[in-house]
């Protein structure tokens, strides 16, 4: 089918293989095919900046994309799992409260009814709330395509403003992360000028592991909305590891976040303001995660 002759079409494959076949056919003919999960970004773009006909490939009928799996080995969240499912999931709330908090910040109640965690990730907004929380939890994407399966850490998956590492013919089946285990916990905080329904001025996701004596043995810090993509900040984690999270170490982690930031100035805040506020968010997220890790 030539591009100019393409009509809108809707397909809802029921297996991963059928999905890959449909994507592969589109890729080989040059037809446009777009994966649909929750649709809360796709439909808005379709009605405004990007109205061109395409095949819409709804992946919600594929069982694996609807799966939430929690085992000793790790946590899996399928790409069609909605924000509302995640924020109501007792198992996820118990072990990944910070990730669930970040999902709870996506849009309104209505948006959360459809929007998915993986859709928020694939949309790759610099201010996407779930991305720093996923990075803090060492999440990676399970990608499938005609060339087989591959896995990519979230920080490598997001490659630019609204741009991800998927190649033609590929889609994300879900995200996977290690089970946090005992004495490890996460937190995500963002700053917005309103109390809800806004886009982050800055955000910080943190995961902290404490030993029995309260010494931090592992940490991961990621920041959002202060660069074209969410960033891992190893220097912030290094400032925490080996410490008892006393004020000086936590402040050093905050300063590392400020130093790593490359923010823009826009109507939500100046670059200077974002550099300052990201440190405060990082420090507060460390405190929240540490409190959870200490149980």
């Amino acid at each position: 089918m030539s591009l100019s002759a393409q009509d809108f079409a809707y397909m809802a494959p029921t297996t991963i293989d059928e999905t890959i076949t449909a994507l592969g056919e589109a890729a080989s003919t040059g037809a446009r095919c777009q994966v649909l999960a929750g649709g809360t970004d796709l439909l808005v773009q379709l009605r405004s900046a990007d109205p061109d006909p395409r095949t819409i490939l709804d992946i919600k009928a594929v069982p694996e994309t609807n799966r939430v799996g929690i085992s000793d080995k790790g946590v899996f969240i399928g790409s069609a799992v909605s924000a509302a499912t995640i924020t109501h999931h007792e198992g996820l709330k118990a072990i990944l409260p910070g990730l669930v908090e970040s999902v709870y910040l996506i849009g309104s109640t209505q948006i959360q009814g459809r929007a998915t965690l993986v859709g928020n990730l694939c949309n790759a907004s610099p201010a996407g709330d779930t991305i720093p929380a996923l990075i803090a939890n060492q999440a990676s994407c399970d990608i499938r395509g005609s060339n087989g399966a591959r896995s990519l850490p979230v920080e490598e998956f997001v490659v630019g403003v609204q741009s991800n590492a998927l190649e033609a013919g590929e889609f994300v089946v879900g995200v996977r992360m290690p089970h946090p285990g005992a004495r490890t916990a996460d937190a995500y905080l963002r700053f917005i000028p309103r109390t809800e329904m806004d886009i982050a001025v800055a955000g910080a996701g943190v995961s902290i592991t404490l030993d029995e004596a309260g010494v931090c043995t592992a940490a991961r810090v990621a920041i959002g909305a202060v660069a074209p993509t969410a960033l891992v900040v190893p220097a912030a984690a290094d400032a925490l590891i080996g410490s008892r999270l006393e004020e000086a170490s936590v402040a050093a982690a905050g300063r590392a976040c400020t130093a790593a930031s490359r923010p823009i100035s826009d109507k939500r805040g100046t670059a200077d303001y974002r550099r300052k506020v990201v440190a405060v968010l990082c420090e507060r997220a460390i405190a929240a995660a540490a409190k959870r890790a200490a149980g």
């Binding site: 809707y10 819409i56 209505q110």
Partner: protein, 157 residues
């Protein structure tokens, strides 16, 4: 263009319709099925006027393709009353004058119903957070919150 055939349940009854692939559920509800109680405010997910329940979950019908309703159960504002008996939420919106032009009202009622199904005794704060995706340009929000609190109290009694 090939039309998609969709089988679904709407307000407790089996419903079938044909739609084009890019049509939203909102368009089909209003233009094909003549269920015009569901309103269009923005069609970008910002106003909540198009709120419906899909399998009991609150969603914007403007942000769903009609084809995605296949095999699912949709509840619209037309399914909230029992026959000619208004649902307590509908009656309390009237009693508290929680509407003026009324364009936002079906969305508020459907969204509030979803809240009370989940939490029969919500705090004022949780009502305000839950309804943050429903915009009203005439009435303001205080009367809406009071109507929801009052309806919740009646439903609990």
């Amino acid at each position: 263009m090939a039309k998609t055939h969709v089988s679904t349940r709407i307000n407790g009854q089996d419903a079938e319709f044909l739609c084009s692939p890019e049509q939203s559920l909102l368009e089909v509800l209003r233009d094909t099925l003549q269920l015009t109680g569901t309103k269009e405010g923005c069609s970008t997910g910002d106003c909540g006027a198009c709120s419906v329940l899909v399998d009991g979950t609150l969603v914007c019908s403007c942000l769903m393709f009609a084809a995605e309703a296949e095999g699912h159960e949709v509840t619209t504002i037309e399914g909230i009353a029992s026959g000619s008996d208004l649902h307590p939420l509908q009656q309390k919106f009237l009693d508290h004058a929680a509407l003026q032009c009324g364009v936002c009202t079906p969305g508020f009622i459907v969204a509030s119903k979803a809240l009370l199904d989940e939490d029969p005794d919500p705090s004022e704060e949780s009502i305000r957070y839950w309804l943050a995706g429903n915009l009203c340009r005439c009435t303001g929000y205080d009367k809406v919150v009071r109507a929801v609190q009052d309806a919740a109290a009646e439903l609990r009694s």
